[in-house]
């Protein structure tokens, strides 16, 4: 009786896994075939003559290398910015007393739920005023500075750092920034890497901001490059799906290497949020 239960459990788990993985499998499968294969009836479930031509095309003719670099640059800069903004503020909110602290922290928490669609119009007008349209700045600067969940995450961590560590440094005559930099920052490596991954991911996959801010093709991010394929070459599924694979591979690699931090990041920002 017990064994049957286990077998059914496995079957269910595997079926769910198939539903989750099949679209990715298909991405790869089509990306390795010429366009005719996409329209073959029945479809080719395993590429008979796999080729890397689609990848060669999108990288040489359609600028995908440039798109990848753009995405990488934006996501890295924004994520590194987040680390500073959130750890600095998280440190202050956790370890310092100052007038207005509760109010300011409350405001940060209150804006966690605000969808980007609500604030994007004034933001767009601001960016236009600053002359930042068609530059990377609108993708980087807001993400660099807005750390609603990040400040929360870092504050929760820093609240639990033992007092003695801080006191010892003060006795040694360290200034506040040195305490933050030499003591708090190093002990929070795990939280920082979780935060880094989350904000890298958000910016890597971001779509609305690139869509409204970028006009020149050479500035496109991967998501925007992909969607421009849909417009121009609506039927070229082989290129589209090769492009999708290119956008997914880097993030999957990071995920497989840092699975633990990913999960931690989600549970610590999610559960208590």
């Amino acid at each position: 009786m017990k064994n049957y239960g286990r077998i059914i459990l496995y079957i269910v788990l595997i079926l769910i896994a198939i539903v989750n993985v099949f679209p990715f499998y298909w991405m790869i499968n089509v990306s390795l075939q010429p366009l005719e294969a996409v329209y073959a009836d029945p479809p080719e479930f395993i590429a008979k003559h796999p080729t890397l031509d689609n990848y060669k095309e999108i990288f040489t003719k359609y600028n995908f290398l440039r798109f990848t670099m753009n995405s990488l640059f934006i996501s890295l800069t924004a994520a590194i910015g987040q680390l500073f903004t959130c750890s600095l503020a998280g440190f202050a909110f956790a370890r310092m007393k100052f007038p207005g602290k509760e109010l300011l922290f409350g405001l940060i928490i209150a804006t966690i739920m605000v969808p980007i669609e609500v604030v994007i119009i004034p933001e767009f007008l601001l960016m236009a005023k600053l002359g930042w349209i068609n530059t990377y700045l609108p993708m980087i600067v807001p993400s660099f500075l807005i750390g609603t969940t990040g400040v929360f995450l870092m504050r929760s961590f820093y609240e639990n750092v033992p007092k003695e560590l801080e006191e010892a440094a003060v006795v040694d005559g360290a200034n506040p920034f040195a305490i933050y930099w030499r003591i708090f920052l190093p002990v929070s490596k795990a939280s920082l890497s979780a935060l880094f991954i989350i904000s890298f991911l958000i910016n890597w996959n971001a779509f609305l901001r690139p869509l409204i801010y970028l006009n020149s093709k050479h500035l496109y991010t991967l998501t925007l490059g992909l969607i421009s394929f849909v417009g121009e070459f609506s039927a070229l599924w082989n290129f589209l799906l090769a492009g999708a694979v290119v956008s997914v591979v880097p993030i999957f690699t990071v995920y497989l290497i840092m699975q633990k931090q990913f999960i931690e990041g989600i549970t610590s920002t999610g559960v208590k949020g």
Binding site: L13, A17, V21, P23, F24, K101, E117, I120, L145, F207
Partner: protein
């Protein structure tokens, strides 16, 4: 610890710039703009409540509110129950849990654009995978999914739920692991079956997490711009246009910034209402269940 008075403000300076310039400032400004007929071309004039009155009296607007709520109505229960089922199955301590978890999580880290593109192919009317399968098992004329007025919104909501399930599964898993193992052992000794254990122990103790996830998923369900843009662009016609997409259309296709701002205020009202409801009912519902 004692620090000089100005020191904390230096530490929070960057975050406060973000908060005031990119969050509160735009919120406030969007509120002001919603009372104007601001467009990208020409000057803006104060029009009072006209934008709101126009929308509230417009049939199309209510249709779009309807789409928005229908999207949530499909998305939220799928998430609240679907991700719980995934989490409970994964929490049985089977071999390969990490591998299964990684596979269930894969859609979460994939961009909505890539997800939308692949699923567009799967739901394609003529060359799509799903319709190929349906024809194979004997359906002569399967539905055209995304180009079908009555189906496109449902398909998009389903795909979005597929993408987000793994995220909420992780949060449930954390909740499940907080349930003391001794409770399960005691129940097993008393001879309780799997289903009884699930109903009598897991469900009551996971209720706070479930409440939290429902609220989060509800807010999540309004942020559907990316998936709708990628899969249907609000179509066919307006059949899958939601509030988030309608804001984009007004602001960045019609350049009616004033009218678009009033729409975004209405979206904010919806989200804010949920937040207040959450705050108000949280203690009540969760405590009586626990």
């Amino acid at each position: 610890m004692k620090y000089k008075l100005y020191v904390p403000y230096l530490f929070i300076l960057l975050a406060m710039m973000g908060l005031f310039i990119f969050r509160l400032g735009p919120l406030f400004f969007a509120g002001i703009m919603s009372f104007t007929d601001w467009s990208m071309f020409g000057s803006a004039g104060f029009v009072g409540l006209e934008n709101y009155i126009d929308f509230l009296g417009d049939e199309t607007f209510w249709k779009i509110v309807g789409h928005t709520l229908l999207f949530s109505l499909i998305f939220v229960p799928s998430i609240a129950f679907g991700s719980l089922i995934l989490a409970v199955l994964l929490n049985q301590g089977v071999k390969g849990t990490t591998a299964f978890r990684a596979m269930y999580f894969a859609p979460v880290i994939t961009s909505t654009v890539a997800v939308g593109i692949v699923w567009r192919w799967i739901f394609g009317a003529d060359v799509g995978m799903l319709n190929f399968l349906l024809r194979t098992i004997g359906f002569e004329s399967p539905p055209s999914w995304l180009s079908d007025r009555s189906l496109s919104l449902l398909v998009v909501a389903f795909v979005f739920a597929w993408k987000r399930l793994g995220y909420y599964m992780i949060i449930y898993l954390a909740g499940l692991q907080d349930i003391p193992k001794t409770l399960y052992e005691a129940a097993r000794i008393d001879g309780a079956g799997h289903f009884a254990i699930f109903r009598k122990i897991t469900v009551p103790l996971i209720t706070p997490t479930m409440f939290f996830i429902t609220i989060m998923a509800l807010v999540d369900s309004f942020k559907n711009f990316d998936i709708i843009y990628t899969m249907t662009r609000g179509g066919p016609g307006r059949a899958s246009t939601t509030l988030a997409y309608y804001i984009y259309q007004h602001a960045f296709e019609l350049f009616e910034m004033g009218a678009a701002s009033s729409l975004s205020m209405l979206l904010l009202l919806l989200v804010g209402g949920i937040a207040v409801l959450n705050f108000y009912y949280k203690s009540h519902w969760v405590e009586t269940q626990g």
